[in-house]
């Protein structure tokens, strides 16, 4: 048993922590999310330069030989600063697909560009009717000569306005929600027939509805096996889910620290409100919630490389615990701040909003509870 990180991992953590503290303070973040672009390409370039976008990849893939632990450490620090840049869509998701199933040519063309920060990916998987079911797809890819033609709509594609490319899930055969008949493609955003409606998200990021109208791609746009993409998608989405859990643990720790600080300095009835026992106990509960979440984040990170059933079980366990904690910590922080908690001015409101959206990201508490129940019943 060893909960220590290696020297290299500690270096990643310290480096990213310093970067976020020094380059991504609260006012800088506010400026970034209010800007036209809605993100900081300069910050992204800096991450690339420091090798952070390479952290979770093996040396033969052009990375530093790290993996899920590195992603966890980076995302936890990003959570502390509410970093909006698309580490999960581009590095964890697109990078994950390429790492697990990319051909040498695909890795050469895309993975090295992701690591260098030159190509930025978004992951277009959700659909308006599909909820959290990864196989429920009305987007189709039809065989067309040597290549494929795609049609359909993807919902709330995070980071799409910033992306140069998409990883897209599509149905290549079978019925709308069949497990088989799902495939994964890479599509350039500037391909003919791709259109976007961009918008901001309530937690300070940008996203789009992405439409594909007779978009033609060549055969080498397919990642992984034709019709058998679902296991690959589940693997990558589990990795992304664990990454967002780590982000939540970072955000919860800062939210808690902020609340403690506020309660100590806010006085009512002549005393700091931190002296009221009901608030003390609530802050104690917040602390216990995020500690439990950190434990589950570790567990799921470690289990990502285990067999499918064990991996899914751990990931869903983590997302349930983290989702519930995120709600409790966010709501409690707002309540303890009184009126200040519901203003746009204070950071606590932004942390609460991010935590609220994380609850549903890559599957809500209910979704993962259902998956946990099914896995338990099948075991």
């Amino acid at each position: 048993m060893d909960f220590n990180f290696s020297d290299e991992q500690n270096m990643v953590r310290d480096g990213i922590s310093r970067l976020v503290r020094e380059q991504y303070d609260w006012d800088t973040r506010r400026g970034i999310i209010a800007s036209d672009a809605g993100w900081s390409p300069e910050f992204w370039a800096q991450l690339a330069e420091l090798g952070m976008l390479a952290a979770p990849f093996s040396e033969e893939d052009g990375g530093f030989g790290g993996g899920a632990v590195e992603t966890m450490l980076i995302m936890e620090e990003f959570g502390k600063g509410l970093v909006v840049e698309p580490f999960i869509p581009s590095v964890v998701c697109a990078g994950g697909f390429l790492k697990h199933a990319g051909t040498a040519a695909q890795k050469e063309e895309y993975l090295s560009a992701i690591i260098a920060g030159e190509k930025v990916f978004a992951f277009a998987y959700a659909e308006p009717q599909g909820r959290y079911d990864l196989a429920n797809l009305t987007t189709t890819a039809k065989k067309d000569g040597e290549g494929y033609t795609l049609n359909g709509q993807k919902a709330v594609v995070i980071g799409a306005p910033w992306a140069s490319h998409f990883v897209v899930t599509a149905r290549t055969s079978g019925g709308q929600a069949d497990q088989n008949g799902v495939s994964v493609f890479i599509i350039a955003k500037d391909a003919a027939g791709v259109s976007l409606r961009d918008y901001a998200t309530v937690d300070g990021r940008r996203a789009s509805e992405v439409y594909f109208e007779n978009v033609s791609v060549s055969a080498d746009a397919l990642i992984g096996e034709l019709d058998n993409g679902l296991p690959l998608i589940e693997t990558v989405v589990d990795e992304a889910t664990v990454a967002v859990c780590a982000e939540a643990t970072g955000a919860m720790q800062v939210t808690h620290a902020m609340t403690l600080e506020y309660a100590k300095q806010r006085k009512q009835f002549g005393v700091p409100i931190s002296t009221f026992q009901v608030l003390q106990h609530r802050m104690v509960d917040m602390f216990m919630e995020y500690e439990q979440s950190i434990s589950m984040s570790y567990l799921a990170t470690i289990k990502l490389d285990e067999g499918e059933a064990e991996r899914k079980h751990a990931v869903s366990s983590a997302k349930v615990r983290v989702g519930q904690s995120a709600r409790f910590v966010g709501q409690s922080a707002v309540q303890t701040h009184g009126g200040m908690g519901v203003t746009d001015e204070t950071a606590v409101g932004s942390y609460f909003k991010r935590l609220s959206i994380i609850e549903g990201e890559f599957g809500s508490v209910d979704h993962h509870m259902r998956r946990h129940i099914k896995l338990t019943a099948a075991a």
Binding site: R197, V202, G349
Partner: protein, 398 residues
Amino acid sequence: MNLEFTAEENAFRDEVRSFIENNYPQNIERAAVQDDMTPEDMTAWHKILGEKNWSVPAWPEQYGGTGWTPTQRYIWSEENARVNAVMPLPFGVAMVGPVIYTFGNEEQKAKHLPGIKSGNVWWCQGYSEPGAGSDLASLKTTAVRDGDDYILNGQKTWTTLAQHADWGFFLCRTDPDAPKPQQGISFILVDMNTPGIEVRPIKLIDGGYEVNEVWLTDVRVPAENLIGEENKGWTYAKFLLAHERSGIAGVARSKRGVEQLKDIAKHEMLDGEPLIQDMGFATKISQLEIDLAALEITELRTLAGEQAGKGPGPESSLLKVKGTEIQQRLTELTLEAVGHYGTPDFRSFPADGSNDFPIGPDYAHSAAPTYFNMRKTSIYGGSNEIQRNIITKMVLGL
């Protein structure tokens, strides 16, 4: 024990239902978020009710009240909630109005009550200050007597919809040396157009502007605007807080909210079935309905007590705590129900082409902002911690 309405009460229900059906303005735009509505839309129904003499049902008849029993008033609010009516704002009708007819003099009644009743005069509540929230009695805004005037200085905050207000009722310190802070406070009516008043908007987490800072710099207010006696303002404020709490349970509106939630859960699909068929989600809706049923009967028991001549007591803190918990739970479940489409910020949607390419269903747009915004309900009107303190002290006697 009998929960049935009498024949007269049922006839009353029919009467108000048909009045609402025939008169509720169809052109009121309910914005995705309530406080994005125009001031005209917010007061349109109030003005119609004013003409009908139904805008201030709870007031004594001599000032324009309807003389309805508490049960009739309950039926009235139920019927309005059925159509999701935009009701008169509480600041005039439920707060300062009762203070004026209870503690004001004849001139004050004649001057202010008609405008509150008609909906032509917009009121705001100037109590809270940056340093005085839960501990309201520590407020610092001063009113210093100068001839026939008071001169007001200080800062109020969280003043709801003050950006539209014509008048405000303010708590100010008139005796800084009183032995208890509660004893040096006065209740003063202020024309919001008086020089020296500056209203600065505060943006809330849902992106809307419903509260403000109100800065008062040498604001000269005629002394005739003092309600009752100088330094007795806390008594009037406490009286008002009790009034503020009746109706705070929001039962009728939450019932309507549950229906809306069920509609959403019928549209949203999970594994090929409507979400409402899912045992997990259906359990949560049922739990909410059960809690709401309990609250409704608790409120009716309180009403029955009122009908028997008992004023609203500290047990109304129970209505506030449970009522707001249910309102908040409703917004949690709505956000859960809409799935991915809770994430887009509808305020940022491009104005063009929305019908060709909708960004999720319309009902999803308000889910997250409403969830964020409704966190306020356990904070304002005496936070839920303060309400529990009140029950601890006044009900449990601890």
